[in-house]
């Protein structure tokens, strides 16, 4: 048990605090003190954020490896399986811990005002607390089963929060869809975990496990299978193709939930998992290319669908899917260039994306709150003058997402594009595929800028149009909702400062994580290439800038006057395809859901048949009884006759046999 005042101890306290907040909020709900339920949540998140930021700042400078272990006793131990409560704090997890708690604090403050007066107020904050706790558990877990526990915990809380308005059928269906689709991914995750556990000498602590596998690598096929199974879990949780269909529907939940879970934290768990098991992936370049390919496919697909959506939150949801695709594209580069570059690019993009996407979602929440829960962009417009602060923060977020130079999104996206370009130029056998995916990424970056600003212009420019649901009270949101927007906007602007060429801080910070070294070492073993380090490229920066300005410019030209949208005849089929989400949901319904329902109906028929069979068996005694019952006719002489006849038979047998 570590001492509380050490950095490790403070980190563990920071992990535990949201759970305490959850329990206290639940208690508020039980004691009918609903109005106070936001206080435990905000306070616990804030203190956890303070502690983790403090630890981060304390340990930010230095050269030594940052790797702190804690073992808090055994959870359970069965046969070969020994699962302790072991935690590991290193650069990546510390950064993620700080980011998650920081953003959660401000989203909680926003929610206190957004969800004001709602009946399930206490339930909301309680589940949010549980979610933050599960996420912190996930990022600090050293034991792979503890990580899976955190994984499942965030999945559960996502279900509970998406289905917050459980009485609404669409919300309940969306929650179920989210849970079930991620469950499909979790199947792969569990299989991967057990494969890795077996390959890793039956260690359950991740560091030892990975070290064992790197030292005694198994066959290529086995490693590929294990990596793909783990990636399957990431595909489910981080909404990659083909399991992304739950994320747009999950917008049925309250907007702050979308901001927290589906922008900043839960969906990034897949990226984190791949970063944590990077050495394994580094040993299998084949797995890496598959990761990149799927990431690229997802990014382009989602960007295409986002082009024609008129629901603002849907645009942002598909944007999230697309940006997650970017992160996986970056991670996959670790098969051709050094994993430290890949991990740095992906995690940094994760960090910046958390800020600007949460900002955008909260902004849309602010708009929705003012417009009386209407989020259809066709129904409102020209809100620049009506909600100035929201407008400004939304603009900052959009610029960051589009990759406007010097904003945070620019730096992280640029890092990924550069990684892809380098991977295309490396000696890897898959180099040409990386080049192709680089082209896809460039196209996606352009489309990202376009649809983001389409949404911005349609919402805030053009003539002022307020829907009647707003009851004429359209005004700027209260201060409690504006402060998180402002804070996150500052973050979206400034986070770029941590990276070169301004400082080299984040690269150095990540270098201090042992897993990165391990990954580099594995990369060297697998590909016989010497791992390099991240360098800033001016050409790449130029290309990124061109793409951003191109997208923003095109959107400005088309949508400067705001809505309604005019689509030229030639583009109508494409627009319809994009609007209908490429009919993927319908395809799944026909190929997967319908056969499953058919099988279920068949199974129920069979069950009914078996039931009838059982009833038939139960019919037999009744039949026999009905045949025998008339013997009991109540006439004593009849009974006596029966006895005599039986006795006669018996005596006959006795007599005949005794005289044989």
């Amino acid at each position: 048990m570590p001492e509380p005042m050490t950095p490790l101890g403070l980190c563990l306290i920071a992990v535990a605090l949201p759970l305490v907040g959850c329990l206290l909020s639940a208690l508020c709900g039980l004691l009918k003190l609903n109005k106070l339920a936001h206080l435990p949540a905000i306070l616990s998140f804030a203190s956890a954020a303070t502690l983790s930021t403090f630890v981060l700042l304390t340990l930010a400078k230095g050269d030594s490896n940052l790797s702190l272990f804690a073992d808090l006793g055994t959870w359970f131990s069965v046969g070969r399986l020994d699962v302790p409560f072991s935690f590991h704090v290193d650069s990546i997890s510390l950064l993620m811990l700080a980011m998650v708690t920081f953003i959660a604090t401000f989203i909680a403050i926003f929610s206190a005002s957004y969800m004001h007066g709602d009946e399930g107020y206490a339930r909301y904050f309680s589940v949010m607390g549980l979610f933050v706790f599960s996420m912190c558990l996930l990022v600090t877990a050293n034991n792979i089963f503890l990580l899976v526990a955190g994984w499942e915990g965030v999945g559960l809380c996502s279900y509970l929060l998406v289905g917050y308005y459980y009485a609404k059928p669409s919300a309940a269906a969306a929650a179920r869809k989210a849970f079930l689709v991620t469950r499909l991914g979790d199947v792969g995750l569990i299989l991967g975990v057990f494969l890795v556990w077996q390959m890793g000498g039956y260690h359950t602590n991740i560091d030892r496990l990975i070290h064992h596998i790197v030292e005694h690598p198994p066959t290529d096929a086995a490693l590929l299978t294990a990596c793909l199974c783990l990636f399957c879990g990431a595909v489910g949780k981080s909404a990659q193709f083909p399991l992304y269909v739950w994320l747009p529907d999950a917008m049925e939940g309250p907007t702050p939930v979308s901001a927290l879970i589906h922008a900043a934290t839960m969906v990034t768990a897949g990226v984190y998992l791949l970063a944590r098991t990077a050495p394994l992936f580094a040993l299998s370049p084949m797995a890496q290319i598959i990761v990149t390919a799927i990431g690229g496919t997802t990014a382009l697909l989602a960007a295409f669908i986002a082009l024609a959506q008129y629901d603002l939150k849907r645009v942002l949801a598909y944007s999230t899917v697309s940006q997650l695709g970017f992160m996986f594209m970056g991670l996959g580069c670790g098969g051709a260039i050094a994993p430290n570059i890949a991990i740095l690019a992906a995690i940094f993009h994760l960090l910046t994306h958390a800020f600007f996407k949460a900002l955008l979602f909260l902004g849309s929440g602010s708009v929705m709150h003012a417009m009386g829960n209407v989020i259809d962009m066709r129904k409102f417009g020209g809100l620049r003058k009506v909600m100035p602060v929201t407008h400004l923060t939304f603009l900052i977020g959009s610029l960051a997402l589009a990759g406007f130079p010097l904003l945070s999104g620019f730096w992280s996206k640029d890092m990924i594009l550069h990684a892809l370009q380098d991977a295309g130029r490396s000696r890897s056998p898959f180099a040409f595929i990386y080049t192709g995916i680089f082209a896809v990424a460039c196209l996606t970056a352009f489309l990202t800028a376009f649809y983001t600003f389409r949404a911005y212009f349609l919402t805030f420019w053009g003539e002022e149009k307020i829907p009647h649901e707003a009851h004429g009270h359209a005004h700027e949101s209260p201060r409690a909702m504006l402060i998180p927007l402002i804070v996150l906007a500052i973050g979206a602007l400034a986070v770029g400062a941590v990276v070169d060429p301004l400082t080299h801080w984040i690269g150095d910070f990540f270098e201090r994580a042992p897993v990165v070294h391990e990954a580099d070492h594995a990369f060297e073993k697998a590909t016989n290439m010497v791992p390099g380090h991240h360098e800033f490229s001016w050409t790449m920066a130029g290309i990124s800038t061109l793409l951003a300005f191109g997208g923003i410019g095109l959107a400005a030209v088309l949508y400067r006057k705001g809505g309604p949208e005019v689509v030229p005849e030639a583009m109508r089929p494409l627009q319809a395809l994009s609007l209908n989400k490429l009919y993927v949901d319908e395809l799944y319904g026909a190929t997967l859901v319908a056969p499953a329902e058919f099988a279920a109906t068949g199974a129920r028929q069979f069950d009914g048949f078996v039931g009838s069979l059982a009833r038939l068996i139960s019919f037999v005694p009744r039949l026999i009884a009905a045949v025998l019952r008339p013997l009991q006719n109540g006439l004593v002489q009849f009974y006596a006759l029966g006895m005599i006849l039986g006795l006669a038979v018996f005596l006959t047998v006795v007599v005949v046999r005794s005289f044989r």
């Binding site: 019952r629 009991q632 006719n633 109540g634 006439l635 004593v636 002489q637 006596a640």
Partner: protein
């Protein structure tokens, strides 16, 4: 010299006849008389065997059988009286209610013949002048 099997045969026949009567007749009294008939057959059997062995044990046991038969008769008569009070007849077919639920009562279908009262004269109640039958005077036969 008396041969044993003859007496045993007679005992068996008496027993069998009693059995038939007990199983077939519906009047309580007749049923009981047939049961006593069976007991007689048994006593005959016992005595025959006792004589065969030249001992008195058979007779002693026969005495006990008579005792028990007497007790049985007394109790049976008491029970028949109670049943008669309840059912107003001495028919064993009246008491079928112990049958299984769902089984219908066994009822007779064939009708009984009509009651033909006896030809023998019945005595009138004392104090009433009996009805005088019509007297028709027959003319004497003249051949």
């Amino acid at each position: 010299m008396i041969s044993l099997p003859h007496f045993l045969a007679i005992g068996a026949i008496l027993f069998g006849l009693g059995l038939i009567g007990f199983l077939s007749r519906r009047n309580f009294i007749t049923m009981f008389l047939c049961a006593e008939l069976m007991l007689q057959g048994v006593v005959l059997n016992l005595l025959a065997f006792g004589r065969y062995h030249g001992s008195l044990h058979g007779q002693a046991f026969g005495l006990f059988i008579i005792t028990v038969a007497a007790c049985e008769a007394g109790l049976a008569m008491a029970l028949f009286l109670v049943l008669y009070k309840r059912g107003k007849s001495l028919d064993s077919g009246d008491w079928q209610a112990v049958r299984e639920a769902g089984v219908s009562a066994t009822l007779e279908t064939e009708a009984l013949p009509a009651y033909v009262p006896d030809e023998s004269p019945t005595l009138p109640v004392a104090g009433r002048i009996p009805e005088q039958p019509e007297v028709t005077v027959q003319e004497p036969f003249r051949a």
